[in-house]
Amino acid sequence: MTSPHLWIAVLAGAALAAAPVCGAAAARPRTAAVYTVTIAAMKFGPTPAAIHVGDTVEWVNNDIFVHSATARDKSFDVELKPKARLRTTFHRAGTYPFACRYHPGMTGTLVVAK
């Protein structure tokens, strides 16, 4: 499941509506989104297709085993106990292959755009 959390968009929309207008031509800043990557039955679920710098991935371990989401370049390393939900926010664009430290056959890739 890769679903941005709608409430963030709603809150951000409300904030924009309340903010003073800084020029009609100003580009609307992109709203940071939260995506979910779910682990189940010894597999990472699909990763979000359009993640950007500033977005967050929430790792959800629905498996019965301890797993980790560990970037090959070590830029993130999240240990996930069964049923844990932990977040990683991406501050740099790039392609991030990752695997479970304990079960290296479990792999995925996150592509973070600017």
């Binding site: 019965i64 301890v66 079960h103």
Partner: protein, 170 residues
């Protein structure tokens, strides 16, 4: 290596003469559970005896993962109202495991590490073969089959980890 041989023999029996008919779910649950118990005991022994960081990390993983599968298996059989049923394959596994614990108990240091890891390779290979060829195909209950399939993926990871470790433990 005789534990692996004993266990291989137990599983080959599971696939042929020992079963006049295919194992039922109660027997399959018992075999899978026993296979987990054997590896947890081996892992605990390694944690008592080994000082090798990589071997200890592997052993911790075996204890943690196999305990998790077995806890889930117990919860499932309880939910299904199934009583796991002892059988010659489970008995062979338990005996093979006990024999191997005794043999490994005689070893120390690097000799222990090497023998433990070699046995883990052989053991997971054998268990994975049995899961694929006998236990999963014969499981009738969907939830049991699904747990065994997840178990197979897990144990394949363990096998790969053990094989990798075997190349580094001298």
């Amino acid at each position: 290596m005789f534990k692996a041989i004993g266990i291989a023999a137990a599983f080959s029996l599971a696939g042929s003469a020992a079963w006049a008919q295919a194992p039922n779910d109660a027997q399959i649950a018992h075999i899978a559970y026993t296979a987990g118990v054997v590896d947890v005991a081996a892992g605990k022994q390694a944690l008592e005896k080994s000082h090798n960081k990589a071997v200890r990390g592997f052993a911790e993983e075996m204890v943690r993962d196999h305990t998790a599968v077995n806890d889930q298996a117990l919860a499932l059989v309880k939910k299904l109202g199934v009583t796991p049923q002892d059988n010659p394959t489970s008995q062979g596994l338990a005996k093979g495991g006990a024999d191997k614990l005794r043999a490994l108990g005689e070893l120390k240091g690097a000799a222990f590490d090497k023998a433990y890891v070699a046995n883990e390779v052989a053991y997971h290979k054998t268990v994975n073969g049995a899961l694929s060829a006998t236990l999963i195909p014969n499981a009738k209950n969907g939830e049991l089959k699904s747990l065994l399939q997840t178990g197979l993926k897990l144990f394949q990871e363990h096998q790969a980890h053990a094989e990798h470790l075997a190349m580094t433990v001298k």
